[in-house]
Symmetry: C2
Subunit: 214 residues, 2 copies
């Protein structure tokens, strides 16, 4: 589906936040006419990934720091809810797989393999969404993650972020494994807040570099 391809391109950072999404260019790029491009853009706009300004075209959603804060809070609450439900209702098999993955990620963190850790991180969180046994909630959490991904891509590159992230995961995973719902909720909430903090640190570092571009 065209909307998925476009979403992937945006998530992968081929279009930066604020970049104009010209219908004709996209039509050429994907070798279709403007009609399906327009339909795809409307879909992405409803997910919040892009923004359509009437008569003025579409841009990749750019977000003020205040909105970003809200997005992270909402994401944290969603993920924390999934973690709480997962603690209550994960099947034994799911719990074992979660533990396995978490342990494997320890090695990746130690080796500082950012790319593999990022993939595994995605899998871990997705596993927790699935463990909530509620497709609606899982879809919402996944959509939220997608919506934030343009802003979160470089976060793991921060020095020493991998082991700390792994530690935070450990808190969440252990709480889920012992079916401690409140602890799972709290640990996940804290984890997401830490991710946000890392992102803000990263912004603070890059801000001067971004400023000198213009």
């Amino acid at each position: 589906m065209l909307a998925d391809d476009l979403a992937k391109a945006i998530i992968d950072g081929e279009f930066a936040p604020g970049a104009r999404l010209d219908e004709q260019q996209l039509a050429q790029r994907y070798a279709v006419s403007r009609t399906p491009v327009r339909e795809a853009l409307r879909q992405l706009a409803t997910t919040g990934l892009i923004e359509i300004r009437p008569r003025r075209g579409a841009i990749v959603a750019q977000v003020t720091p205040a909105q970003l804060e809200e997005l992270f809070v909402a994401m944290g609450e969603l993920e924390a809810t999934c973690a709480r439900l997962a603690a209550l209702s994960m099947a034994p098999t799911e719990r074992r797989r979660l533990q396995d993955l978490h342990e494997r990620m320890g090695a990746l963190a130690a080796a500082n393999d950012v790319s593999a850790f990022a993939d595994a991180n995605h899998a871990l969180h997705t596993m927790i969404y699935a463990g909530a046994h509620n497709i609606v909630l899982a879809d919402m959490a996944a959509a939220m993650r997608r919506r934030l991904s343009p802003f979160r891509r470089a976060q793991f590159r921060l020095e020493g972020r991998l082991p700390r992230s792994h530690d935070e995961h450990g808190q969440v995973v252990r709480a889920i494994l012992r079916a401690d719902a409140p602890a799972a909720h709290a640990a996940m909430l804290q984890h997401v807040m830490r991710v946000e903090q890392s992102f803000e640190d990263l912004c603070a570092i890059n801000q001067p570099a971004m400023a000198e571009e213009k």
Copy 2:
């Protein structure tokens, strides 16, 4: 916007779940061509209100009892999260307005004014979403409410539902007013579960009538 009009028509029950949404008919009805209709349908599909089956047209989303259960659980968790955050961060003015509205709804419940109570109910929940001071979460909760509304329309007609609903609201409102976040969370979760229970009771009553149609 066309998508909003269409969504309203679906929410108001002009198109029942499972009804086919013919592009040409909709185009005639709204006096536009098929192109904007298609764009609107794609948008509604991403919200989950309708379902587009490739090459086979769009229908109002029909939902199995299991999916409906998931929708109500997800909605309950979302609303409970909003209630918890509202308890923590509502401004004094907002708290007073919430209390005012709740007290006015007591009279509506006593008078058994179903229509006015339903409107006020919507306002009350929206007020709590807003009280969370997080637009992203509020939008998600509102979208969820929209998505469930085709199935929840007749729920207030159940005998004696209004006073009980008002009582449940009282639990939530009092918890929010005294900034008791865990209690607000729990009370809202319970309220939504009770709404779901009412809906299921209603289904159990209507089921035979639906069965004899075919």
